[in-house]
Symmetry: C2
Subunit: 392 residues, 2 copies
């Protein structure tokens, strides 16, 4: 399969030579650590097929028509969130087409062009698209690779710029793999309340924890209602579900409904009902066990290979406890952006960290994905990459 994530990242790098280069790297004979897909081998095709068939035969036309957000799914999600310590009920759950649409809706809800938003200096391109892409005035804050976003910088930004919105990725950050510490979570929630800044907690990855202790969501600590949680089935079930959700105040229902309608009316009744059938049948837990144990094995192989081949280069890397990504920092003089061409020639691909850097720089960094590549290929890819980065 071609590396779709790589080609999409290339597409977002408009008017860039890198773009054409990354498009070239979309080739099946390249060992790719550039992706962001769940392990194809474990996706629950047969079980989901059964859920689709059951829903179509049980619900008939209602599963094919227009319809309001499917209440049993909203109820299930509310229970899932309560399991994470978030006090909520179905009326607090707003169904979206994945986390990206949730981001787009919240960005439109809180910000007009020219308003100020705070995002991390290195962040998922989708976060950049709903802020910079909407011509918001974007202020960035740095992120510590052990404990997550720099809370001092966040407070300074809140105090100085009084933003209309802040977007953070709390768990297994894309692209950095880092998780915000418990102490920082408490401070962030307090800052949101003190400065009245709506904080979007973009959390598609927490169900993908494969080691360590689960952290409570910011939303679980949020007594003032300033945190807006985003979840998604894309990573915890399958990307093709195109389903996510917002946890927010019920009073926003009308405004969110009207915004959602203007964007694309609604999510598929069929998919909403099939996903609900799947989780209701208790199949999610077994699937997540399968998925996370696969991810963990691959993560361990990646860490070992980095130790063997990258430590001698003087590189450092994050040690994710879940999710899909690790973040590599090479010595300053090694330019992972410039070396990408050589890597592709050596039949190995990654995403240069600079592609995620809102204000440029960070050319000695890269994002590595370990979830949809075999252990053998991970070892070989890292061996090749070490050669690429150690060349004079």
């Amino acid at each position: 399969m071609q590396d779709y994530i790589l080609s999409q990242t290339a597409a977002t790098l408009q008017r860039s030579v890198m773009r054409d280069l990354m498009a070239l790297a979309v080739s099946p004979d390249i060992l790719s650590l550039a992706g962001g897909l769940p392990a194809s081998e474990v996706l629950p095709g047969q079980e989901f097929s059964q859920s689709l068939e059951r829903v179509l035969s049980r619900d008939g036309a209602a599963a094919m028509q227009y319809g309001p957000p499917w209440m049993p799914l909203r109820e299930w999600i509310a229970g899932f969130m309560r399991g994470k310590g978030v006090a909520c009920s179905a009326e607090n759950i707003f169904i979206t087409n994945g986390a990206q649409q949730a981001l787009a809706i919240l960005s439109r809800l809180f910000c007009d062009p020219g308003d100020t938003a705070v995002i991390e200096a290195i962040t998922f391109t989708g976060v950049q698209q709903v802020t910079l892409g909407r011509r918001l005035n974007v202020h960035t804050v740095p992120t510590d690779l052990d404990s997550g976003v720099d809370v001092g910088a966040l407070e300074h930004a809140f105090r100085t710029h009084r933003p209309k919105l802040a977007v953070l990725i709390p768990n297994f950050h894309n692209p950095m793999g880092v998780t915000i510490s418990r102490e920082k979570r408490e401070r962030i929630v307090a800052l949101a309340a003190e400065y009245r800044v709506p904080v979007v907690e973009d959390d598609p990855y927490s169900p993908l924890r494969f080691m360590g202790e689960a952290m409570p969501p910011l939303k679980a600590m949020d007594e003032e209602g300033m945190v807006f949680y985003i979840g998604s089935f894309s990573k915890m079930l399958m990307p093709a579900a195109r389903l996510g959700w917002i946890v927010g105040p019920a009073e926003l229902a009308d405004r969110i409904t009207v915004l959602r309608e203007s964007i694309d009316l609604e999510s598929s009744q069929l998919i909403q009902r099939a996903v609900h059938d799947f989780v209701q049948e208790g199949r999610l837990e077994a699937y997540l066990d399968r998925l996370n144990s696969t991810n963990l094995r691959r993560r361990q192989v990646l860490m070992q290979a980095l130790e063997t081949h990258f430590a001698p280069l003087g590189a450092r890397w994050t040690k994710p406890e879940g999710g899909l990504f690790a973040w590599i920092t090479l010595p300053e003089h090694i330019d992972a952006w410039q070396r990408f061409e050589t890597a592709v020639q050596q039949k190995v691909a990654y995403i240069p960290g600079a592609a995620f850097a809102v204000q440029g720089g960070h050319r000695n960094t890269l994002r590595l994905n370990f979830s949809n590549i075999t252990e053998e290929h991970i070892r070989e890819a890292i061996r090749r990459l070490a050669q690429v980065f150690s060349a004079a």
Copy 2:
């Protein structure tokens, strides 16, 4: 089933007493002509279930992962459009989540807040949401109930206001049921070229023609590339597919891809592949035959009932050759907005035409849907409505 279309229309009528009233009318014991859904009895549940199962077993993980717009579906759509006389290939087809998302994307592509757009004075609420809802400067043009949009007014608007965008619904207009005449189509395309105004041809309904002669799309006459065609599977296959498309120049691919990504990344691989499997198997023709013959029977019953019960009131109505809606104009003194409450008390519902009127007025009009209600219920609903409107 509750009348979802009615409840959604109510939701868009923010801060209005009508809104609460329409919400009340969402009740299963009400005969509803307010909807906009295809006939539930004919939806192809079993065949589509087979397509889903086939795709999941044939394509495996690729049907559940992220992926680029599904090329075989783009190719099929290109062939479908060539069948309508539109010169195009797969690279001109951009997959969207239904027509509404296509509208949202084109609106963002061509207009910034404050730019001028031209829309019909009475039009689908979704068209209003992507123009007024984005704070565009909206100029409206009237529509003739026999031949479609007033082309003289359109030319005046193009010449005077130099809009960045115009949106028209060429076939079986929602809510008016009217189709733009062939002569007017030629003039509209010429005006778009002369004044360099991108014209969006929003056409979810043309496959739902049940009588009369098919009209060529504006896009089929468009030599200058100023027409942007929107199609949808929502009405011709099933709303829950949430799939539509734009026909436009291949050069827009990068800009449309980036915009689409910022909104919700992409459409479901699973649904795209299943829809393609369904149409590839030649099942669409049989389904459309079933759907349109059902719609035709119901339309005939509606027309007969209007003749019997509404003609004596002095009402006039459009006589659609396809689609889902007829538009009723009552004598000036009968207020269909104000009478809605009485109608609901009499257990019958419609959408007051004023809900579609961009600048208010038109309180003596209403939209009637005939596609998802039995012939017997249509007769009874019209009988009740005539009583409601004839009361002093």
